[in-house]
């Protein structure tokens, strides 16, 4: 048990990272938003500075890795399904193996994340569209089945070459690959709903950005994997997808932190800041390398690795930011007070009260 660092192994109340909660915004906001005025220190009251909502008990690195692997598998499945008919066997093989590896690895992490892993099959007890985790289980299960079948056909093909059943195997593998490709994108983006459909302010209020961010991240990961493991004559689609994904991811991350207002401060401090900075560096380097170095095997592989690392680091950064946000009572009180104030103002002015949507706090 000594190596088990997961927070729930500790006493329940020790999950609060007081060092992360207490010193509040001692440094001015990031210089990268130079044109934006510094958000004034928010006045708020709380119960001894304690968190108001409970931070997720999800394990790190299980859940961020699952987010990454789901994206990797989902976009790789589409690449693999297209690579076959367009005559790119090495990209098809890489995509199928990435899909099955991501699905299997993700499933293992998801089960390990459960606090009662022996009951993992309870996830398929019901189908609940109100529960993103239920929907996700029903997305992951068929995807894993399709991806396994496609990868199995890929693995068996050399042994059956020229024998009876080789054609059947290929057709079956292709059909399974198409099935995985149809489900794959949903596997890559539903995880955004999974984390934004919580009371964690930094996640919930980014529910318009996170699907795009995660789709971009998935494309960068899947394309990156294709760059690493396919031959240079086959890797052009992977290169394109990876570059597009990296650009979408970088742009969306920037837009998300702007739109979040004061809630973005968790991206400007602590480990989340380190992770997101590293992620951006990896994505920029990887995308640039993919542009210029695709035709060199080693350059393509290095670029692909950087893109995959950037994608994974984004997931870890978003996860960390959410934990910090949940532990910060200001993230609950200040936006909710602002919401109440705007509603009261509208009532006094006789206008229609605004909906209870999040409004970025003062200073924006």
């Amino acid at each position: 048990m000594t190596e088990d660092l997961n927070p729930t192994g500790m006493p329940e109340r020790a999950r609060i990272d007081h060092d992360a909660v207490k010193p509040r915004r001692d440094s001015p906001r990031g210089g990268r938003k130079g044109e934006q005025l510094q958000v004034p220190e928010a006045e708020f009251r709380s119960y001894y500075g304690r968190p108001i909502i409970k931070a997720p008990v999800w394990k790190n690195p299980d859940v961020p890795l699952y987010l990454f692997l789901g994206g990797l598998a989902g976009s790789s499945a589409v690449l693999a399904a297209m690579a076959g008919p367009t005559g790119r066997p090495s990209l098809r093989r890489a995509g199928r193996y990435a899909a099955v590896g991501g699905a299997m690895g993700g499933t293992v992490f998801l089960i390990h994340d459960l606090h009662r892993p022996s009951r993992f099959l309870h996830m398929l007890r019901v189908f609940k569209p109100t529960s993103p985790l239920s929907v996700g289980s029903w997305i992951l299960s068929p995807f894993a089945a399709f991806a396994t079948a496609a990868a199995g056909a890929e693995a068996l093909a050399p042994y059956l070459r020229g024998r009876r059943g080789a054609k059947t195997l290929q057709v079956a593998g292709d059909a399974a690959g198409v099935g995985a490709a149809v489900v794959g994108p949903a596997l890559a983006t539903y995880t955004a709903v999974l984390i934004s459909n919580t009371a964690v302010p930094t996640w919930h209020e980014a529910h318009r950005h996170l699907p795009v961010l995660f789709a971009g991240s998935a494309a960068a990961a899947g394309g990156g994997f294709g760059l690493v493991f396919s031959r240079v004559e086959d890797n052009e689609p992977a290169q394109r997808l990876a570059i597009a994904g990296a650009v979408v991811e970088l742009v969306t991350e920037e837009k998300m932190t702007r739109d979040l207002g004061m809630l973005a401060d968790v991206y400007d401090k602590g480990r989340a800041k380190t992770l997101m900075t590293a992620s951006k560096a990896c994505l920029v380097v990887g995308a640039a390398g993919a542009v210029v170095g695709r035709r060199k095997r080693w350059a393509a592989a290095l670029s692909g690795l950087a893109l995959m690392a950037g994608s994974a680091l984004t997931r870890f950064g978003v996860f960390d930011a959410g934990i910090a946000s949940a532990n910060d009572p200001a993230h609950i009180v200040v936006p909710q007070r602002e919401r109440i104030r705007r509603r009261e103002e509208a009532v006094q002015a006789g206008t229609t009260p605004p909906d209870r949507h999040y409004v970025p706090a003062a200073g924006n």
Partner: protein, 366 residues
Amino acid sequence: MTNVFDAFSGTANSLYGELPDPAADAGFDPSHPKRVGFFTDTSVCIGCKACEVACKEWNLVPDDGTDASDLYRLTGMSYDNTGDLGASTWRHVAFIEDVRPHGSATTAHGGAVPAEPTTGHIPSGLPALGGGALPKAPRDAATAPPGPGGTGTGTVDLLTLLPDAGAHGQQTPDDERDVRWLMASDVCKHCTHAGCLDNCPTGALFRTEFGTVVVQDDICNGCGYCVPSCPYGVIDVRGSDGGAHKCTLCYDRLGSGLEPACAKACPTQSIQFGDLDELQAAADARLAELHGRGVNEARLYGRDENDGVGGDGAFFLLLDEPEVYGLPPDPIVTTRDLPEMWRNAALTAVGLGAAALAAFWKGGRR
């Protein structure tokens, strides 16, 4: 729910908005019992923690998870050594020592001191506490934030806590501060729109025929999704057994016609149990009474059926802003935005698939 697509049909307010009968929405036939709940009147709470103890005893809730090396540690938060609600704390009594510089609040009110009734903020139906000899300076500073120098981190002289210290002319060593105490027994709100219930992937959380929300421990697989789904931070996963736990509103006792253990044990009727509509009427009357007696800082929390969670099954009368008690001031059930989230995710998935297809555009084999 009777039909999984009801939630997204737009006609039923299953995810957000006013919902008069959550039990019927969950599929119980109209003959189900009336919705029950708690009305916790914090103005008469004396902080005895009988509710915490009664809850633990009846429900066999284990130790709070304080680890063996640090058993019975103190939080430093007044007399609150429980901290917050959690998997093994289903009732939690909050203590707020509101210490502020003497008279600072009255000047902020622009010399309105004589106009204030003598009850000041000293609440409640405990008139014997103050009698006619209430302190000379009304401590009506409920809505002002604690002054920077007056937060309760230092030692508090117990003499200053005597309500009639001034009236007796006692010279306390520290005459500069006013102290008031806020005590509140917090509990699961049994929301009309319960984020924990809607987000539970296994169906372990369910709506009872009484309109309450309960975890079935033999179904829960410890995924922990309910934990960040609660806008109040109530439910949590217990380290020792890996399952999610929270107040059941003593579902087992309700079935036998008994009231929940905490309400039964409460010596001041701060915790009232009953049919929700009757409790709401009682709370409205209590609020009007307190306002009539000049306790203007009294307010109901969770009573409004149009609030972000459709109203709470367990609601409160508070004497300060909710966040002072560790409650969110304007909670919204997370599923309010779920239909939009699914739409966005579906559109983005289509976009990702299209991008991956487009990556093969005019890419002949080289």
